[in-house]
């Protein structure tokens, strides 16, 4: 398309008209995709924003009456019995748990994933694809299956406990399931490939002559790692961290299955409002709060890559 348009060497007026036609054509082409996305993803978010300013109905749904209760309830709560206004412990502790679990997941994924990505990137070209395939297979496996697999490993009758009991290291099964540790394990397992792949993309392009230069200057391997390799791999590290942190923050399936309904993360809290909690507006405001957290994380990403990526979209 562009090729054809660029061929024209006519007068500015004709070029202008041609350009307008081109812009129109581009809008026409992208219209169906945009329409589907607006109807099936973006539009509903706006509706949800509206709902967060309504009052909850008696058994779910909303009553069309303006109310800021939902937003106030995100951070503050009124004690049922003495009416005192205080910080909403329940919500804040869930926000906190979600954030630190997501951060811990990211860090652990990085610690495990960086050496792995480096390993793959330094394999000879023939076998590199195979290693990459080995990493992507778990990635393409359903999240639910992977979480269920972790369940089978850590439950009281699971593999870990069976081994511990069989070797006599413990007398009774260790309670791993239904703890924060269980959720963390599940999330690291599920999101690890998402960390490895961008890291690999970054490390693959690493110019090892820099590394060689470092060694030539009498640097030790540790210094080379910290001062040469890591900075060069920074875009990959940041991309991988974002790809892990965002889904981890909004995780729903993993805490449901491994958390036992007691260790709730933001996703579970939001779902509760649409079920037993019977408070759709609060669910909406919590969901928007989650989006705000995610956007904040993304802004950090954009800033740290100097906005280079933003230009390319």
């Amino acid at each position: 398309m562009t090729a054809a348009a660029e061929h024209g060497t006519g007068q500015p007026l004709a070029a202008e008209a041609g350009r307008r036609a081109e812009v129109r054509a581009r809008w026409l082409l992208s219209a169906p995709a945009l329409l589907v996305i607006v109807c099936g993803a973006v539009g509903p978010l706006a509706v949800m924003g509206v709902y967060s300013f309504l009052a909850p109905g008696p058994y779910g749904d909303v009553v069309w009456r303006f109310s800021t209760d939902a937003w106030v309830s995100v951070l503050l709560e009124r004690d049922i019995f003495d009416g005192t206004l205080s910080l909403a412990d329940a919500h804040l502790s869930i926000f906190w748990r979600s954030t630190w679990l997501a951060l811990a997941t990211t860090v652990l994924a990085l610690l495990l994933g960086f050496p792995t990505a480096y390993f793959i990137a330094t394999r000879p070209a023939r076998t590199r694809d195979l290693w990459l395939l080995l990493v992507t297979i778990p990635f393409w496996t359903n999240l639910l299956i992977r979480t269920f697999a972790v369940l089978q490993i850590i439950r009281n009758e699971g593999v870990v406990n069976s081994l511990l009991l069989a070797t006599g290291l413990v007398e009774r099964p260790v309670q791993i399931l239904f703890t924060d540790a269980a959720i963390l394990t599940g999330m690291v397992y599920v999101y690890l490939p998402l960390m490895v792949l961008p890291l690999y993309a970054s490390l693959e392009r690493l110019d090892f002559r820099m590394v060689e230069a470092g060694y030539d200057l009498y640097a030790r391997p540790r210094d080379v790692l910290l001062c040469v390799i890591l900075p060069l791999a920074k875009p990959g590290i940041v991309a991988g961290s974002i790809l892990v942190f965002i889904p981890a923050l909004g995780a729903y399936v993993t805490p449901t299955i491994l958390g036992g309904g007691k260790n709730m993360m933001l996703g579970n809290l939001i779902e509760l409002q649409f079920g037993q909690g019977r408070n759709w507006p609060l669910g909406a405001s919590l969901a928007i709060s989650l989006m705000a957290l995610v956007t904040a994380a993304l802004l950090v990403y954009v800033r740290s890559t100097g906005g280079r990526e933003a230009a390319h979209g």
């Binding site: 562009t2 090729a3 660029e6 061929h7 812009v23 581009r26 992208s30 995709a33 589907v36 996305i37 099936g40 993803a41 973006v42 509903p44 978010l45 949800m48 495990l112 050496p115 792995t116 480096y118 390993f119 395939l133 990493v135 992507t136 297979i137 778990p138 393409w140 359903n142 999240l143 639910l144 299956i145 269920f148 697999a149 972790v150 089978q152 490993i153 009758e157 593999v159 397992y189 690890l192 590394v211 060689e212 060694y215 391997p221 909004g250 729903y252 399936v253 299955i257 933001l266 996703g267 939001i270 779902e271 649409f274 909406a284 969901a287 989006m291 995610v294 956007t295 993304l298 979209g313």
Partner: protein, 267 residues
């Protein structure tokens, strides 16, 4: 002769990598191995047996859910790829950025940056109302939702390919008096084919995998395989789960390996 100093070696990295691979495959391996266990628990091995596979296949609900998953995924993959191709053509190789281009990028990539649970409850809210207004509660909502979140996944590879594509061949076609349409069909599309395939495959698997959005949007009797499995895990773990997971896993592996092999040949 002394061992050559390898600038690429970092101490301990290979060990961690090996550990990582082992950890990645251990849970899946356990699942697959115990799918063939005669007993129901992973605590005791009771002999090899295909009984859980038989039960899974005889389970009508499972088969139906699996078919529904495949149907939705196929539809979403095809639609999303077509729409994404159009959108990619519209938003790449722009001589000068025009107004609204940045907006388009944001919109198209939106499903990638919004957590699934947020989109899921937003869709729940809107579709619940629409279902009551129109009385229609068929697969349409699921198809729309899936296509919407598959578009960015199909879009990215196609766009990447377009951006790095060299204009020479298309210019040559124009030089030979080909109309824009013919250039598109006979030159651009074939060059884009690998990217379109990548996008379609990615969209297909992403849709097949989806749990959260489907769980919130579905109406009665519209379980996909992942939502059926989620229900089972939450409300009544059946030992068939290992077998069903293995089956599902097999499908994913086949898709990935086929795609991998076909893209290797091309390279």
């Amino acid at each position: 002769m002394a061992e050559r100093f390898d600038v690429r070696r970092q101490r301990g990295f290979s060990l961690v990598a090996a550990l990582c691979f082992a950890l990645l495959y251990l849970p899946i391996a356990v699942l697959v191995v115990f799918a063939f266990n005669a007993g129901p628990s992973v605590a005791r091995w009771e002999g090899v047996s295909l009984v859980w596979f038989e039960k899974a296949m005889a389970n009508e609900a499972v088969v139906e859910a699996a078919l529904r998953s495949l149907t939705i995924a196929s539809f979403a993959a095809v639609c999303a790829t077509v729409l994404a191709t159009l959108a990619a053509l519209a938003t790449t190789r722009v001589a000068r950025p025009y107004r609204g281009l940045a907006l388009k990028y944001t919109l198209i990539n939106q499903p990638l940056v919004v957590p699934e649970i947020v989109t899921a409850v937003a869709l729940l809210i809107v579709f619940a109302r629409v279902k009551v207004w129109t009385g229609y509660s068929g697969l349409g909502y699921l198809l729309l939702a899936h296509t919407a979140f598959c578009i960015p996944f199909a879009y990215l590879p196609i766009r990447a390919r377009l951006e790095s594509m060299d204009l020479t061949l298309e210019r040559a076609a124009a030089d030979l008096y080909a109309t824009p349409w013919r250039t598109f069909v006979h030159v651009t599309l074939p060059l884009l084919r690998p990217a379109i395939l990548a996008g379609a495959t990615l969209a297909f698997v992403i849709s097949l995998d989806d749990v959260v959005i489907t769980e919130f949007v579905k109406s009665g009797g519209q379980d996909t395989l992942p939502t059926w499995m989620l229900g089972q895990i939450r409300r009544s773990t059946s030992p068939e789960m290992n077998a069903i997971s293995t089956g599902f896993l097999a499908i994913s592996v086949v898709v990935v390996v086929v795609f991998f092999l076909s893209s290797r040949k091309r390279a």
